[in-house]
């Protein structure tokens, strides 16, 4: 266990993640001259068609205490399996419009293989394990609830 793992990390942020915030995160790594590779994933809200309507924005909500715990576990699990120098995870709460960014996964390593594999697996785990919900607001004022992984929930009332 190193100190990187033990720091308290803010993951859930209000509103969209701005490109300038991303630039600032990248800049902060210029002093870490053992890093050779950064892998970044950005989830952008799509203006999907739902019937004859279109998604204008997603309203994200979460079971915050459990979400933070899950992000922490996902983080530890990645640090245990990959040789990583840094990891930063951010997910939006509240309204994120189509075209804006709601997920920012940023992993850095000495060589690129670790960053690439960790980044991809982190995104999969976040989508699968973190209790976040998204209400897709449509252009006629109605809404539908988004679901990433409905099959793992089907008929699962314990």
């Amino acid at each position: 266990m190193n100190s990187k793992k033990e720091k308290k990390h803010t993951v859930l942020v209000e509103g969209p993640i701005s490109p300038l915030f991303i630039a600032d995160s990248i800049s902060k790594h210029s002093t870490k001259t053992d890093i050779g590779a950064h892998a970044i994933f950005l989830g952008q809200v799509r203006s999907d068609r739902i019937g004859d309507k279109k998604v204008k924005s997603i309203l994200y909500s979460a079971y915050q205490e459990m979400a933070e715990l899950e992000f922490h576990k996902i983080r530890e699990h990645a640090f245990d399996r990959f040789q990583l120098t840094c990891m930063h995870l951010y997910h939006s709460l509240g309204e994120v419009k189509a075209g804006e960014i709601s997920l920012f996964v940023f992993v850095s390593s000495i060589h690129r293989a670790d960053a690439f594999t960790a980044c991809r697996e982190l995104v999969d785990e976040i989508k699968l394990k973190v209790p976040i919900w998204g209400k897709e607001m449509l252009d006629d004022g109605s809404f539908v609830w988004k679901a990433n992984n409905i099959t793992t929930f089907e008929n699962d009332h314990p």
Binding site: G43, I58, Y60, S61, A62, Y63, E65, M66, L69, H91, S102, L103, V123, I126, K127, L128, K129, V130, P131, I132, W133, G134, K135, W145, K146, A147, N148, N149, I150, T152, F153, E154, N155, D156, H157, P158
Partner: protein
């Protein structure tokens, strides 16, 4: 004995409440039966239970003060 039940996302729309207190339920199966009786629309939804922020895939005993959350399919990302 008192259990706090939390509703989130689409399930909070069904219950009309963010949380309720349920007395005298000894395990999660009993609690599930109670919830399906109280909120029949839950039968048409997919959801899981978490007990004290841990997913609960099988029946387990509950203790006074436990916090149980009803979780619809996640949509992060």
């Amino acid at each position: 004995m008192q259990i706090t039940v939390l509703f989130f996302g689409p399930l909070a729309e069904i219950s009309g409440l963010d949380q309720i207190q349920v007395p005298d339920v000894s395990d999660t199966s009993t609690l599930t039966g109670y919830l399906l009786g109280a909120y029949p629309l839950l039968k048409s939804q997919s959801w899981k239970l978490a007990v004290n922020k841990e997913l609960c895939p099988a029946n387990r005993d509950l203790q006074d003060g436990d916090i149980v959350a009803l979780l619809a399919p996640f949509a992060g990302g």
